[in-house]
């Protein structure tokens, strides 16, 4: 992230820290990140989208191990990135932590944990958010 990213990050704090999504009051579909309106119910959902705090539990749909990381993540290689299907329905992309890489499996139950995601070098802001760990790890 570069300078100017702070306001954008700040706006997304509810989602990044606490997985606040929302739910369509018409069809009950859950969205994360939250949407202004439901793409299925469209006009019927207007004014009926309600915030919903997701429990942060779900399962690994698929994953990959990163050996060549983007800038700022080089120090963490190798690490796992996964697509996780949350129990409420939405899918999120996130890092899997606190788990031996050979123990990660498709279908593995995971729960969210609070971690540092990125920082703007030594003088910039620090960005926190969700990563996931196996539910077997308390």
């Amino acid at each position: 992230m570069t300078d100017g990213a702070v306001p954008r990050f700040w706006r997304e704090i509810p989602q990044r820290y606490n997985l606040i999504g929302n739910q369509c009051g018409s069809c009950n579909k859950v969205y994360f990140p939250p949407r202004e309106s439901c793409p299925y119910c469209r006009r019927k959902s207007m004014g009926k989208m309600k915030n919903l705090k997701l429990k942060g539990q779900g399962e690994v749909l698929t994953y990959t191990i990163i050996y060549n990381a983007p800038e700022h993540f080089e120090g963490q290689t190798p690490y796992a990135m996964a697509i996780i299907k949350l129990d409420e329905g939405p899918k999120v992309t996130a890092q899997i932590v606190d788990c031996d890489l050979d123990k990660i499996k498709i279908g593995m139950r995971v729960q969210s944990t609070f971690r540092k995601i990125q920082e703007d070098g030594y003088i910039g802001a620090i960005y926190y958010g969700y990563k996931f760990k196996s539910v077997e790890v308390k």
Binding site: G75, D98, T113, K116, V137, K138
Partner: protein, 349 residues
């Protein structure tokens, strides 16, 4: 003071560990001299994505998991640490947001070497007693720094604990607390510097032992208690030896100290040290048990607490959040070169 106490508690210890043996090998030292002298066998290490904010959030969330408290009823968050991620920008704001306690919230970060967390407990006690807040969360957490090759490197570790202080559904009454503070420069870190400096053996007699001894004796006088009245005794643990020695000097037995003594297997978690020790005791404590706690912060000062576990403890679902013993058992070892990368030791101070 019987109407104020601990309502819930939570702990967090990073999963990574390094053995004292590996550090000793890297610096050409005899491992047995090190482990024998310090009484530290391995220590916790934060991963690159863990810092005092993430440890504090995990500990505070663990404390909340054991209760039905609405986070909006929490009126204060005080985080004690000497490794806050920002020099200016409070860790407590990040914790408050992450546990859903903002915006009607009193927040400040504390620093008093290894006793900033217990100072936060005292502040929360006073706020609750004055009815300025319904609940306050006091956190002590650190990802403590040690210069490469310094003796501190064998012990400086990471971890933290959070205590919800209130007057409703109290699991452990805090009967008395007192502090003993002087200007004693035994250990410090200058503004803007990466690593602390210390006075070597000067950290012992005039610092750790004088402050804890004096404060412990004052507390037992206030509470009209003797060492044998306590089931458990927890002391600040900069290494594995000091807490055992100070306990013996005060008249406590090794059995009273055992449950709260974590330094030999996780290192010195600085502001988390005595608080994690207390959390470990609360993991097994029964109603009626009496707990003695004395923290120590270089600079220097000590906070002491006389605590009695109440019947409400039986209703606390301790298993809803990780016990300290579970956090200790869940570990992954790293070698010294990985440690230098993760702890950012490859860059100049």
């Amino acid at each position: 003071m019987k109407d104020v106490g601990i309502v819930s508690y939570g702990a967090h210890i990073p999963r990574l560990r390094i053995k004292s043996l590996d550090i000793a090998h890297a610096w050409g030292k005899d491992p047995e001299t090190i482990t024998g002298g310090l009484g530290v066998f391995e220590k916790s290490v934060p991963s690159p994505d863990q810092d005092v904010a993430t440890i504090s959030v995990e500990a505070a969330r663990a404390a909340l998991l054991r209760t039905n408290i609405d986070p909006q009823d929490i009126g204060a968050v005080y985080v004690g640490s000497e490794s806050h991620p920002y020099a200016v920008k409070p860790t407590g704001t990040i914790v408050g947001e992450a546990i859903g306690a903002t915006p009607l919230l009193k927040v400040a970060d504390y620093e008093f070497a290894c006793k900033a967390g217990t100072a936060a407990i005292q502040t929360c006690m006073a706020l609750v007693k004055a009815e300025m807040v319904r609940y306050g969360i006091a956190i002590g957490a650190d990802t403590s720094q040690a210069a490469p090759g310094d003796a501190l490197e064998y012990a400086a570790s990471a971890g933290g604990a959070a205590f919800i202080i209130g007057r409703e559904n109290v699991i452990a009454n805090i009967n008395e607390t007192c502090s003993f503070t002087t200007d004693t420069p035994d250990f410090w870190r200058r503004e803007g510097r990466k690593y602390p400096a210390h006075g070597g053996r000067f950290t012992g007699t005039p610092a750790y032992f004088r402050h804890i001894m004096s404060n412990a004796q004052n507390l037992m006088e206030m509470a009209n208690t003797k060492p044998e009245d306590y089931n458990f005794a927890v002391f600040h643990q900069p290494n594995g030896k000091f807490p055992v020695r100070v306990a013996k000097m005060l008249g406590f037995t090794p059995e009273q100290v055992k449950q709260g003594l974590l330094c030999p297997i996780i290192g010195n978690t600085y502001s988390g040290s005595s608080m994690l020790g207390l959390a470990s005791v609360l993991d097994i404590a029964k109603p009626g048990n009496r707990i003695f706690v004395a923290s120590y912060g270089s600079g220097a000062g000590s906070d002491a607490f006389d605590i009695t576990v109440t019947d409400v403890m039986n209703k606390l679902p301790r298993g809803k959040a990780p016990l300290v013993s579970e956090l200790i058992e869940n570990k992954q070892y790293i070698d010294y070169s990985t440690y230098t990368k993760y702890r950012d030791l490859l860059y100049e101070d």
